[in-house]
Amino acid sequence: MKKYWQLLLIAGIIVVTFTVHYIQVANAKGKDYDFTFEKISGDDKYIDSLMFKTSLQYGMVYNSLLISKDESSLIETVHNREIPLMFQKLIDEHKNFMRGKALIANNYFEDDTKLIYMKEPEEGWKVKAGDTYSYEVDILDKVKDEKTSFSIKSQLNNRYNWVFYSDITVVNNELKLIVKQVDNDGSEKMYQVIIDLKKQQLLSETLLEEAAIDEATRTSIEAYNSYSNLGHEKYHVYSISSFDMKSPELNLISSQFRAINMETNEIIDIQLPDGLEQKLQSIEVDDNYLVIAYSTKEGIVIYRYNIGQQRWLEPITASNTEKVLNPDLNSTTSLNGKLYVMTEVNNDFVLKIFDIQQGALLYEGKVINKNMKQKYYIHITDVYELESK
């Protein structure tokens, strides 16, 4: 044994050092990422069944973290390639169907009986004016666990560089699709495409909006529906904004909000209250409501528009209980009639939960981590409701 001392020494150092190192890393993961909620006002029950997906910047390290009332856990990634939680769920449930599919929420529709995926046309830059592309539809019958695929040629013969799907829904067996075509110069066209799922036929391709570019102005179309909602949404809300190309900061000239009723195909104009156009820090769509929020040093102001009734409700103002460091909203997100707003105060972050319809502040609390050794930034990227055990 004595003559093997060098060999044993090297092997011993390797085993001990690596073991200690990985134990330290595991302990640090548990400690460093342990966030808790500290209530300021309201009722704790509003965070009881929630899971917040957050993005954490800690020095130069960026991590995704799941925080619930009882525990925080780091989302493990391989080479920073993270599978969003909603897709992980779909992959776990429908592994074969999900193979080879892009993880872009706008390309999916899901309800109780089916999961639909639409592949965006690739290499649009190769398409010349007069050529066209196809709508490729994959449908999974969740009840029978059967997959159907079909492809339908578009009748649009435009020159474009990219084609994006902004929203997919199904109404009475009709697949309704919001398609955005973008050309190399930045000009955009937005269409509503309707496909009969039973007959696998293209019913219509209607031009909804056109955003052109010239030397003086740049116009763009932006959609606001929740990215992570794969289910049916009655309204697709978007804006057409014009920017002054001659000003160095591309100042906003005008912004027109519209909502398309995906059930009736009717387009509703939404007029913003005076002055709100220049304060658009956060725009969320939750079911029947368009919610616009902005923050000042004094507090948060929330405007709510009932799309169905086509009227603005009384704005909500919630004053800050602590000095706000950054007057911009740190993050906002909405889920099932509630708006979740995060702001940065001193060394902490404050979460406020509002009831959108009632216009009431339900909960306010700090999101705290006492173990972090240096300044960190955290913002909510998604909210999930935990299934009751």
Partner: protein, 274 residues
């Protein structure tokens, strides 16, 4: 088994002096680096604070506090790691060629030992792995030492203690000590495969000489091709999930290593004459 351990011990002993010198060089470079970077930071901070009439907190706000990152991004750390890696890479070739090209042909004695010739191959492979893991283990200890040294040089107000996760998230350290078990296995299996393929290529050259260089080249291309099969399939079909790709590449690497061992065994038994 006994013969194999004896052979490993023999190989370790043969390189131990050079290995120790390498460790001393790396330790010296990094300790000097720790002293230089932290002393430079302190003197620079003092000069700037006096010149610009700044408080410590103003200075930290403008220029940042000293942390282990200052050392990790310095050439002392980076070059010492590259130097050690390069030396070990050279040793992958040297471990075979010195047996043939040295004054007394050690390979003659090794291959005449009353044990399977493949044990010589396994012993050399194990030795390289031990040296690689030994150096990476030493680096973990060294970083703790560097941390202590810089903490003593830099005043508390200018020093920033960092989480182990943050420290080991830098690109180079993340490569050496992956935090995901999947990546740990992936990186080190790829490394073992690379060494095994190089060893077998050397044996091709030793078996067939000039023609062997050509055969070794072809063999290397085929080996890389085998390891890359899942990646090529993925590019064409986009069928696999990311984790599956890592697992498949790891699996194909194991296959490539098995092929390397089989070929090495064949060459050692049938083609290499001593």
């Amino acid at each position: 088994m006994n013969h194999y351990i004896k052979l490993v011990n023999f190989e370790v002993k043969r390189f131990s002096k050079l290995y120790l010198s390498l460790i001393i060089a790396v330790v010296a470079a990094q300790i000097i680096g720790a002293i230089v970077t932290s002393s430079f930071y302190v003197s620079n901070a003092e000069t700037t604070m006096v010149r610009d009439q700044m408080t410590v907190s103003d200075y930290i706000l403008t220029y940042g506090a000293y942390s282990l990152q200052n050392f990790l991004f310095s050439e002392y750390f980076f070059l010492s790691v590259i130097f050690a890696a390069a030396l070990l890479m050279i040793y992958v070739f040297f471990i075979w060629y010195r047996d043939w090209l040295g004054k007394s042909s050690v390979i003659y004695r090794l291959l005449m030992l009353p044990t399977a010739r493949r044990n010589v191959y396994f012993a050399k492979l194990t030795t390289i792995l031990l040296f690689v893991f030994g150096l990476t283990a030493m680096q973990i200890i060294l970083l703790e030492v560097v941390n202590q040294i810089t903490q003593r040089i830099v005043p508390d107000q200018l020093w920033m203690d960092e989480s182990i996760i943050y420290i080991y998230s830098t690109e180079l350290l993340d490569l050496l000590y992956p935090q995901s078990p999947l990546l740990f296995v992936f990186y080190y299996v790829i490394g073992i495969t690379a060494v095994a393929v190089i060893f077998t290529s050397i044996l091709f050259e030793r078996s067939y000489h000039l023609k062997g260089i050509f055969l070794a080249f072809i063999y290397c291309v085929i080996s890389v091709g085998i390891v890359m099969v899942p990646v090529i399939v993925q590019i064409i079909t986009n069928y696999f999930y990311t984790n599956e790709i890592y697992l498949l590449v790891t699996g194909f690497s194991v296959l490539t290593t098995a092929l390397a061992i089989y070929l090495a065994d064949y060459l050692l038994k049938r083609k290499i004459n001593v």
